[in-house]
Amino acid sequence: MDTTRIRELFERQVEAFTASREFAALESGRADYDAFVENVARAHLKSPQLVAFLYALAPPAAAPTLLGNLLEELGLEADSERPHPALLEDLLRAAGLGHRLPTIQAEAEDDIRRVVTDPLLYGTLREVGLAALTEIVAFEFMLSRVSGRIGRALAAHRGLPAPALEWFTHHSEVDVRHAEQGLADLGAYCAYYAFADDEALTIVEMTLRENVFARRYFRDFVAGAR
């Protein structure tokens, strides 16, 4: 499947995210930085579980990269790496939010519980997997373009030191290759599970019908508000 249209949708989402008044506030010293840091941690603390789910559904062509992603999330890809959730915990502690960790852990766990218990919109795991993969790759795509800006904003306006911002550094612009691989994985998934282009695009569009980045990072975000 040609992923050009999916790339366009990702680009549009990133553009809307960075053009939002909330993002402008983040970069100009007017944001609630503690809330932002908590939201980022909540959004990604359980990423290893989500990537593991996607690895379980991965088609042969995408399985090696998804396994690589999973090992990276778990800090097992190289000796020097730390698990990504640990990097988020470092971020919280450095921001003086270590005491909030149990609450944020519980919220992240509840987010997973809700995903599992809410009625499924789709009839098979084939469609559920595509929706989940879309959201994960969308985040990789956005972070590869924006996480550097976010890290710089947190350093400048919240005074966080570089070691505390390693999670953002890890996902920063140098990770564009990772995001490109994600798009290729999406194409491989659609091909392997025999999605018609229209069918796949409908599910991708449905997943992205709200700005998933703003929804997770700015929880009170209203689309179109300026």
């Binding site: 499924l120 009839g123 409908t202 599910i203 019908r209 709200e210 975000f221 209203v222």
Partner: protein, 380 residues
Amino acid sequence: MRLAGATLYALRIPFVEGFSHSATDRRWSDSVVVRVRDEAGVEGFGEGTPRPYVTGETVETMLDHLERALWPRVAGRELPPAGHLAGLAAFLPATHLAGALAPNAALAALELAILDCALRAVDLPMAAVLPPVRRRVVYSGVVTAGPIERAVQHARRMRAIGLSHVKIKVGFDDDVARVTAVREALGPEVSLRLDANGAWTLERAVDVLNALAPLGIASVEQPLPRGPVEDLARLRSATPVPVMVDESLVTEADAEALIEAKAADLFNVRVSKCGGLARSLAIAARAAAMGIGVQVGSQVGETAILAAAGRHLAAALPDVAFVEGSFGRLLLVEDVAVESVSFGHRGEAPLLTGPGLGIRVVEERLRRRAVSVKNLDTEG
């Protein structure tokens, strides 16, 4: 136990994406939630969605009516018996609100809160007063207004999630092209209804409906503005498409007039619009007795509270042609209950079996999403 206090929350919960039809364009919910508590501290929650173009209520007039007219009538009174749903209409008699057809959103919100509280006080589920006749409820999708390309995109989404009933908003210059495109996107098996929200004249309605009838249209909702019921009767005789009334059906008196004039094939009964469960049941029962079909409808932006009430109503009515609502977090960025009320694949949703309305409302979410909060006590 006596009713000891109430809290009114005027909510504004953003939508995941905007929703529009010929009468309005909406980006967030505008509903009012009522929390009541009895002397023992047992709480109950109800909700109403005031719409100027439906009942004539606004958020402001609804809040005022609840505070000044309705709450004083029930404050300090013994809770009605939990098992006597019909008695609730007598417990909350009809009131008058200047400038409105009826203060039904306010009545619904208070009725549901009292019912929820009365049931929770004795740990009974809604099934105790409204026994279900089916094990699950099947919801319709709604294709919102906007460019035809967007309508087609929405229709494809409905097909992707396996919905078998879809409604499309009409009332625009391009209605025939719009419905034709949506029918093509949905395929022939999906039941397709139209909703004009009163946007057509009689002549326009006849023209559009006769042009679209070959596409297999299950019904047309509120084709004409609320007005003389004879116009609807004339339209019925001029088109093969079954006519459903919505804005024309707010009160039980409306129902009688529509029946008398043979002006409708279907009634759209909505809990908030019709003044609560007891009044909705009465209208639905009257319709059934006269061979008129019933749709259990909803207001766009309802939270889990009204969605739960609609679920119970739809599960209990012997014959339901269509059911709408229960979008939950498919539409709202956050809903107010622990339990998800959103429907799933094929529009199916299970019964809600917990005490009261069957959902647990998170008060902190109400406070966070409220633009105003007002506490009322028995002193008035």
